[in-house]
């Protein structure tokens, strides 16, 4: 660590860092426009010139491009530096329109601020300024004003370096350099609006925010984005009690300041006129607005009549405290274990909670990271950015196990494509040290690079496709976990707080705090008074039971199974069959059309709480605006219904719920409210604290000393016995803390059904999700709704040729379940025998084709002739 001297002050610098960064840590601000700590330096704006002592004495140097060196002497305030700064600022302003009064950036503009702080104060420029047509849209979300641009290359660098979508660049040269997109090619990137936040002037503005507010009128709170499970930290800004903007906050362990465009703009949905404002009760064929007293009574009546013959679907939208309240309500008041926060499109809770968990940082610093999950760029966008950067700039080798090419494929050292249903087969070949196939051998070598047991290796595990059952993925995970006992897992489930809901027991057979009903039953009987004796049904089971009239009532907790469950016909039949349905939601949806009572709830930024991201990081959700009408938080509804049904959940504030979670949920022991501020804390706290003290995660977490002794135990497994628990994740209750049940350990389920033999006349379907789909957030955010694309079936041109389908034609797509007429796109990158059709896009889709009980979905294509 070299010591350097800045303005006579001794500063301890980090090896290899630039002078500008070392100075900033020492409290010396060097003005800059192009430099950004998360991107490579370019030295373009020359605003950061300082004097650095060299062999010929002090000389001007760009502090963003000169690394620190021992005993370096730097001066940032000399007349020479001041003149250079004056000069650069004057240059930057000569062609700048100075239209600050009507600029969205005015008031929070680095150009304004640095002119104020470092500039000459007046201009000597009397010539005509440069003019460009303005503003021009570069995509539906962003407008470009080239006159305001100061050519700092932050936008172009972000799109190229960080996002990998280099669709904006400089055009022309000299003072006629403009930043622009390529002709007729909009900036089609899931991350485009980061460049609005990065822009140091008002050249790039977000179309949904343009002229909506003045920065100094905005109220702001820091919160956590819940658009997906990455849990990016954001600043939520409002004006006059309406959300107007999300900004990315640089959270080192999570998002590095980046957001996806969905996360940045979904606040529009919160403010949607379609929001439910008052309870609705079905009267005949219509819903009638009623008081809360009447709505709750109707709900209680319906639930009372059903008794324990009820199922609770959903909960991944809920903050942790609300999920806990509903989990407790279902178990203690309704008396059922039929709860599932996943819509048959995720992974079994035992796998998610029971496999040893990795953090994002661990996945991004691992010697090798294996991806077995969805296309991260579409489903968990900022995790994609982190992993992409790790692969390109770090030493992490990515290995992909996927049924179809993804955005990550080009960055993977090996991309192993498996036929849907056969992930476990490829996984077995991968771990069997065969050197038959060189790609398999290369992948295995990368995984075993540092140790035979895969020490340090991270496996990103999610559901690659809802058109194949989760069983095959779990089997593959079991094979990998057994072969690499040193590996950890980062679960790539998509829904906002699905990991928190699972932690809170929103899954059958699982109780809050990552314990099983079997092992935790006694503990929770103590804490709650009662728990169901029998393991309940998952979403598939509940829908099947309802369909067969074995279930009297359903509660839809922010759930829309008709659109979200992979098998739409089953969901429709189930909802039609049950006697009573209660929907608790922000919006009406296709499923709640079947409801008897709909209770309106507060949405994101209208309530406080905590949320848990895919690494198990618990961070704060902050309230910024008031909920519309009489909508209220989910936990209050659970508490009120409990009282009406003769129970009592025993809490009346969020704090009291949080305290009960800390006391009862084993994985959350020691999670004090202070720990959830800022970047939050990864649970179990004690185990992470230990990792932290080993310097592996770099997290600064206050550790409860009682739990710090928790050890990471690695029980020896017999690879031949599938039923042996594979690993014991670090447990807060190990070995001390009497009474707390042990944390769940993943036990591979007995061998799953094998997929049918390959049928040469069929294609196996792969169905993932797009960032912009028919989900609630996108549908109700006008800016995002326009980004949704039409469903297209992609298949290898060879396969299309076989059945006589020509490019541009539509085709009849048939499965045993149903049949669709779809646009078809030949894609040579698609593996033969596989077809790709994403779920939840406009019109009919895979949900009409998928049989949720089948291991894979086989489809046949028929040419219908004619042009599409």
């Amino acid at each position: 660590m070299p010591d350097i001297v800045i303005d006579g002050k001794k500063v301890e610098a980090k090896d290899g860092e630039m002078i500008i960064a070392a100075a900033e840590r020492a409290g010396i601000y060097i003005p800059r426009f192009c430099w950004h700590p998360r991107m490579k330096p370019v030295g373009m704006c020359r605003m950061c010139l300082v004097e650095v002592k060299g062999p010929r004495g002090f000389a001007l140097q760009p502090s963003c491009y000169v690394p620190v060196a021992p005993d370096q002497e730097i001066v940032t305030t000399s007349d020479t530096v001041k003149k250079a700064q004056d000069g650069v600022l004057e240059f930057l302003l000569i062609n700048h329109p100075l239209d600050c009064p009507v600029c969205d950036r005015g008031g929070e503009c680095p150009l304004q601020d640095q002119t104020f702080g470092f500039g000459p104060g007046e201009s000597r420029f009397v010539e005509e300024k440069r003019h460009w047509a303005k503003p021009i849209p570069i995509n539906p979300l962003i407008a470009l004003d080239r006159e305001r641009c100061i050519q700092c290359a932050r936008c172009t660098r972000f799109q190229e370096e960080v996002a990998g979508d280099p669709m904006i660049d400089f055009v022309g040269r000299g003072d006629h350099t403009e930043v622009n997109i390529f002709a007729d090619k909009p900036l089609a990137s899931n991350f485009s609006a980061n460049i609005v936040q990065l822009c140091p002037v008002g050249a790039l503005t977000a179309t949904p925010y343009r002229f909506k507010a003045r920065p100094w009128d905005l109220d702001v709170v820091e919160s956590t984005c819940t658009a997906c499970a990455v849990g990016c930290r954001i600043a939520v800004q409002s004006s006059s009690n309406r959300l107007v903007r999300h900004l990315g906050v640089d959270s080192d362990p999570v998002n590095h300041g980046w957001l996806c465009d969905k996360g940045r703009f979904y606040y529009e949905a919160v403010d949607s006129p379609a929001r439910l404002t008052n309870p609705l009760v079905r009267k005949g064929d219509e819903f009638v607005e009623v008081s809360w007293a009447e709505g709750l009574r109707a709900a209680a009546d319906g639930l009372r009549a059903a008794g324990a013959s009820v199922g609770v679907l959903g909960g991944a939208r809920l903050p942790n405290e609300d999920a806990y309240a509903w989990s407790k309500f279902a178990r203690t008041v309704l008396g059922t274990d039929n709860v599932d926060c996943q819509m048959g499109d995720g992974l079994p809770a035992e796998a998610v909670l029971g496999l040893p968990r990795a953090t994002i940082d661990e996945a991004c610093s691992a010697p090798a990271t294996l991806l077995l999950g969805p296309d991260l760029k579409e489903e968990l966008p900022v995790l994609f950015l982190r992993l992409r950067t790790a692969a390109l700039d770090g030493d992490t080798k990515l290995i992909e196990l996927t049924p179809r090419p993804t955005a990550m494929s080009e960055h993977a050292v090996v991309s192993l494509v498996y036929r849907p249903g056969e992930a476990a087969t490829v996984a077995r070949a991968l771990v069997e040290k065969s050197d038959q196939d060189s790609r398999l051998a290369r992948a295995a070598e990368a995984l075993r690079g540092e140790s035979e047991t895969g020490e340090g290796v991270v496996i990103v595990l999610g559901r690659p496709s809802v058109a194949e059952s989760a069983d095959g993925i779990v089997q593959a995970a079991a094979v990998l976990a057994r072969a690499f006992p040193g590996a950890k897992f980062l679960t790539a489930l998509r829904r906002g707080n699905v990991h928190g809901a699972l932690d809170m027991g929103m899954a059958p057979g699982i109780l809050p705090g990552r314990v099983s009903l079997d092992e935790g039953g006694a503990w929770f009987t103590d804490g709650w008074g009662a728990v169901p004796a029998q393991r309940g049904l998952d979403t598939l089971g509940m829908l099947q039971a309802a369909d067969q009239n074995h279930l009297q009532a359903l509660v839809l907790l922010g759930a829309d199974p008709i659109n979200d469950f992979p098998d739409r016909a089953l969901a429709r039949r189930a909802l039609a069959a049950v006697n009573f349905t209660l929907a608790v939601d922000c919006f009406r949806n296709d499923s709640s059309r079947h409801a008897d009572v709909i209770l309106p709830v507060a949405a994101f930024a209208e309530r406080s709480g905590t949320t848990t991201n895919l690494e198990g990081r618990v961070s704060r959700l902050s309230q910024k605006v008031t909920a519309p009408g009489t909508a209220r938080p989910d936990w209050m509804i659970a508490a009120e219904l409990a009282l009406l049904l003769g129970g009592d959940l025993g809490f009346d504030t969020l704090d009291s719920i949080a305290a009960e979670i800390e006391r009862l949920a084993p994985s959350h022991a020691g999670l004090t409210p202070r720990l959830t501020t800022g970047d939050g804390a990864v649970v179990p706290v004690a185990a992470r604290g230990k990792t932290s003290s080993n310097g592996q995660t770099g997290e600064q977490i206050e550790v409860n000393a009682t739990f710090a002794q928790g050890e990471t135990l690695m029980p020896e497994n017999d690879p031949d016995q599938g039923e042996t628990p594979l690993d014991r994740p670090p447990s807060a209750s190990d070995p001390a803390e009497g009474g707390r049940p042990p944390l769940l350990r993943f036990t591979p389920p007995p061998s799953s059904r094998t997929p049918p033999p390959v049928d040469a006349y069929s294609l196996r379907l792969v169905s993932g999700r797009r960032l912009y789909d028919h989900g609630v957030l996108v549908s109700h955010s006008p800016a995002l709704a326009q980004m949704v694309s039409e469903p297209v079936l992609r298949a290898n041109p060879y396969d299309l040729d076989q059945v006589g389908i020509k490019p541009g034609q539509r085709a009849r797509v048939k499965s045993p379940r149903g049949s669709l007429l779809l646009a078809v796109h030949p894609d040579p990158a698609m593996p033969r025998g596989t077809a790709c059709l994403d779920v939840n896009l406009p019109g009919e889709g895979p949900a009409e084709l998928i049989d949720a009980t089948a291991p894979v979905t086989e489809i046949r294509l028929e040419s219908v002739g004619g042009a599409g």
Binding site: R46, A59, T80, I94, R173
Partner: protein
């Protein structure tokens, strides 16, 4: 006065079909390279070091010393800079068109000496004929066995690529050239860390030499470094091509011995420039490319010596001498040069991008009649903000030296001909118009 120094790089120009392999071989072509192959690379480098061969591209750095600075990691690359684009510099143009095999032979010798894995000849895109002849010559050279695998049975192998530029002056700046060669925008790189010899093409150690520089190599190998150093004076060794243009009777390229000849000889000798047109008086001249500060008639007896010219506050640069007679409007001349740098600024860093445009507009205003007296001080201060103090090496207000090139003509004109500016301002326009 003219010396009897041999023509080293222009000897074959003017011969019938001088650009063909047959003509080249007839005149002893590829003998230098054959001889080099019998020597060790170190010995070849030693000869070049002894020769005191200064780079002919503009900066005038010793070629042998540059080679010795090539960093260890391999592969290393060799890039020949043929992106000659500065107004009034037209020597490489002539060599590329008239003696392409000499360029190739020089490139091969250099590649052998420095151990390059691959060599590129980057030719300005507008040199259509030069590109055609270079490409044809390279094909001939491959067929002849001078390029490719196991050259002349020596075991030495090298591939050469002729790469056309895409039309930007800035790509003559070596690091911008490397960016362009990598397929990117021609943006100069920050130095350090991007010194080509350490971190050049594809981040590998790279030697970038000018076309004329390497064209000297076949002769140096054959006649020895000491033979080359015997010509000229001191560091200004050998002969050099001077591109003489402007108001002289015989504008042309002249290869003459360095330091033994003066600007007066170059401009007035009947065998060289032949004097000023129409018998006019000399008003000023640019001694080394339009980015160099100007000289007046009082400097005519200055020898064509790199160090002497540098000491006098200008530079020999690319060896282009531009003569302006007494009918020249100096405001217009300076403005014309300013326009060029303004238009050719790559736009990467602020002072050059914005400053170039600004001084262009001020100069235009003065020339066309809208000048104010305060503009003169403003011009000097804006120039100072683009490149403080006009010193060498320039202050790092800009990434490359295009920025510091902008003020040269303006400050020269203002220093030498301030009265002319004042007349423009007072009379509301150009008195020469």
């Amino acid at each position: 006065m003219l010396t009897d120094a041999p023509a080293i790089v222009t000897a074959r120009l003017g011969q019938p079909e001088s650009w063909t392999l047959r003509s080249y071989l007839d005149k002893g072509g590829y003998q230098g390279f054959r001889q080099a192959l019998t020597m060790t690379p170190e010995d070849v480098s030693k000869e070049v070091l002894d020769a005191n061969l200064l780079g002919r591209g503009g900066a005038g750095f010793e070629a042998g010393k540059k080679w010795s600075m090539l960093a260890k990691p391999r592969p290393a690359y060799l890039v020949i800079n043929g992106d000659e684009s500065e107004p009034c510099t037209f020597k490489d143009h002539m060599l590329l068109e008239g003696d392409p095999h000499q360029v190739i032979e020089g490139t091969l010798i250099c590649a052998y000496a420095v151990g390059a894995a691959q060599a590129f000849i980057f030719v300005r895109g507008e040199f259509a004929l030069g590109l055609e002849r270079m490409t044809a010559a390279l094909n001939e050279a491959y067929e002849y066995g001078a390029v490719g695998q196991d050259i002349f049975g020596s075991g030495f192998s090298i591939d050469l690529v002729v790469h056309p530029g895409a039309g930007a002056y800035i790509c003559g700046e070596e690091t911008a050239l490397l960016e362009s060669l990598e397929g990117k925008r021609g943006y100069p790189r920050e130095k350090p860390p991007w010194f080509p010899a350490v971190k050049g093409l594809y981040s590998q150690p790279t030697i970038v030499n000018n076309v004329e520089t390497v064209s000297n190599l076949p002769w140096i190998v054959q006649h020895g470094g000491k033979g080359f150093a015997a010509l000229g004076v001191g560091r200004s060794a050998g002969t050099r091509i001077f591109s003489l243009s402007g108001h002289v009777n015989r504008p042309a390229n002249f290869e003459i011995e360095m330091a033994k000849t003066t600007f007066r000889d170059l401009i007035y000798d009947p065998a060289l420039g032949g004097g000023i047109r129409n018998g006019n008086e000399l008003k000023a001249f640019v001694p080394g490319g339009v980015s160099a500060p100007w000289f007046g008639p009082d400097q005519l007896d200055m020898p064509l010596d790199q160090d002497a010219v540098g000491k006098a506050g200008s530079m020999l640069g690319s060896g282009s001498v531009v003569v302006m007679d007494d009918t020249t409007c100096m405001v217009r001349a300076a403005w014309r040069i300013t326009q060029f740098f303004h238009k050719e600024s790559c736009g990467q860093c602020t002072p050059c991008r914005e400053g170039g445009g600004w001084v262009d507009k001020i100069m235009r205003r003065i020339e066309l009649g809208g000048g104010r007296e305060s503009d003169l001080e403003l011009l000097l201060d804006v120039c100072d903000n683009i490149a403080p103090g006009l010193r060498w090496p320039p202050a790092k207000t800009t990434i490359c030296v295009l920025g510091p090139s902008i003020p040269s003509s303006i400050t020269s004109a203002l220093k030498m001909f301030k009265d002319e500016f004042l007349v423009h301002i007072k009379e509301g326009g150009c008195p020469y118009a």
